[in-house]
Structure formats: C-alpha cells, structure tokens
C-alpha cells in the first residue's frame, strides 16, 4: 500500500501587530489541536510563577550567544536588551515525533523562517489598516503621534505579504472563521502529493 502518512509541517502564524495572532494561536490551543506550539526562549530571568518550558525556555545570555553563533536559532531578536529566539532543537524534536509545529511570529520573523526553512507554511493574518487603527483608537491608550507612527509601520508590514503562502482575514468578530481557515490550510497541506519537507 502506498504510504500517505503526512510529513509534519512547520506553520508560521504571522501578520501585522494587533491583527490577532495570539488570539488565533490561543483558539487553536483551546480547540485541542494536536500541534506542538513553540515556546520562545529568553535570557531574562523567570518572573514569579513562570515555568521553564511552558511560558518560556530560560537560558543564560552565554548560552543564547552560543546558540546564535552556532546557527541553532530559527529566529532571534534582541528586544529591550534581552535576547528572544526559537531554538531549532525544539522544532526538530517536535517534528521528529510526528507533530505539526505552530509558531507565532511578527512579519520580520516570518521572513527569517522563510529563508532558513523555505518549506515552512507561512500564513499572514490580515485586517484592513482602517480596522487595525480603529482597534488602537478604541483601546484609547495611544497618542495621535503613536497612531500615525503605527500607520507607517503597518504599510511596511503589509509589504511582506508577498513572501507568504496564505492570507487569512481576521476581521472583527471573525476569529472562529479565521481559525477554521487556518485548519483547512493545514489539512490541505497534508493532502499534497508532493509534501513540503522541512529540513532544519
């Protein structure tokens, strides 16, 4: 019998800030989808209640710098002076166990994954600039200057769309529908005659 057991996928949920990436990933978790959800590594110390391997992987700065030097990070950024990144080993292990791997990244991070793992499945969550700026204003926490700046950033984020495989609209009160589409994409990818083979 021909073997159609699917290869595990590396799935990146991305899109502009404020579009609802965390909400989509949280919904996938709530629905009990059998994916490995990537845990980010950081070199900041754990806060009270945070658990290594659940909230973050906590590594020393030296360890982080070693992983970076040795190309062991799939994605890496320094945010407010602190290292954040995704160790390849975590992704390799999950895929070796047969699980699809889901990670949530900003669009620059998605671009890095595209270059390191061209066979990853990149999903861009989309909402119109109008709607994203409305969401900001409704929160009321941002000054007009911050909103103007955000508007410029948004245009830069949208320019990344081209490197993505799929775009899913995550407009207001459409979260469940967006999550259904993400799941359809994953199911369809598993039906490909020529599967994507991710090598890390």
């Amino acid at each position: 019998m021909t073997d159609f057991s699917p290869s595990p996928l590396l799935i990146v949920i991305s899109g502009p800030a404020g579009v609802g990436k965390d909400a989509v990933v949280a919904c996938l978790k709530e629905r009990g989808c059998p994916f490995h959800f990537v845990v980010t590594a950081t070199d900041r110390p754990p806060r009270p209640g945070e658990v290594h391997g659940r909230d973050y992987f906590f590594y020393s700065t030296a360890e982080f710098e070693r992983m970076e030097r040795e190309g062991e990070l799939l994605e890496h950024a320094i945010v407010y002076g602190q290292h954040k990144g995704i160790p390849k080993q975590q992704v390799r292990q999950a895929m070796a166990s047969g699980k699809d791997v889901v990670m949530r990244l900003d669009v620059q991070g998605a671009a890095t994954v595209r270059s390191l793992a061209p066979e990853a499945v990149l999903i861009f969550l989309y909402a119109s600039a109008e709607e994203l700026l409305q969401r900001m204003k409704r929160r009321g926490a941002d000054s007009p200057e911050q909103i103007a700046l955000r508007s410029e950033e948004l245009a830069a984020e949208m320019a990344y769309l081209d490197i993505f495989d799929y775009v899913v609209v995550n407009a207001e009160s459409r979260l469940n529908c967006a999550v259904d589409q993400v799941l359809s994409i994953i199911e369809a990818e598993h039906c490909r005659v020529h599967p994507r083979k991710v090598v890390l």
Copy 2:
C-alpha cells in the same frame, strides 16, 4: 483596502475507476456547495427523460467535430463510437460568474486538463489496489480475467498520481471525511497569496 476576493478555481476530481469519484461529486452537490458542476457534452441522442444542460449537453456530431478542430474542448474522448467532452465555453462562463468549477474525470482526462490549464487544482481520490479489487469481487459481476485486467489498469492509473496536486484517501466508509478534505483543499486554495489563474 486590499482585495482578497478569490479567483474562481477549476477543480478536477479524479482517480482510478471504482474509487468513488461520482460519490464524492454527488456528496458535494447534496451538501449544497455553491460550485458549478460541469455537465458533459455528447453526440448521442437524448434518452427519454434526459434534459439538455442537466444530464448532458446534446450536440450534433458535426458540432462536436467543429469544437474539436477549433480547440474548444477541454477534454474529449470517443467512447464506444460516441463523442464525449467538456466545452471550454461552459467552464469559462461559470468562472466568469465567479463560481468554482468542479469536474469529475478519469486520470487520462485529468492529465489533459493539466496540459491545457496548468493552474487547475487536481485532486486524486485514492484507495488501495487491494480495496478496489475487493469492491469489484464483492459486486460479483466480474470474471477472474476481468479482475486481473483491472489490476493491471490500476497500476497504470496510479502512475498518474505524480501530476496531481492533492491526494485524498476515499477508503470504505470514509466518504464524508474525504469530502471534508476536498472542501478544505478548496478553502485553502482560496487563501493563497498568489492565486492560481486559470486561462482557457
């Protein structure tokens, strides 16, 4: 606002004889999917109760030969001395109205569509040779010689798998699951950042 209105798809449901292509298409119809289901054209005369445009499009042999000469048939075969085929015009019209077009074809027909419309979405319905031959035997209508011949044909049909985009297992009592997968594939294809553009 960016326009993500999806381009209509040309979807081919194919696979070896006996795998359940008709059952999958019938199930898509029963579920009320808003697709245009292609109606085959033929030059045999209508039988009592058959309706032009519902059961078949009935054309004269001369009209068929004209369409063939002018490249107006997407797929064409002579079966027991009678012409059968799919006029491109039907597919063009349905797609122009914004509808996805679904057609059921044997694997040779799917190969023809692939060459004439490379951007078509080709779905191969699969069941193991063992299961397909068991289904034949259970029907009891076929001689051992016919079953041996069928087994050879099956191997030839499987060789076409490589030109398909997707494979969906349609094993016994899995019809609804197979139809769900077909619908996921169609939904995912509509989310592509770079849509397939079928030109006929």
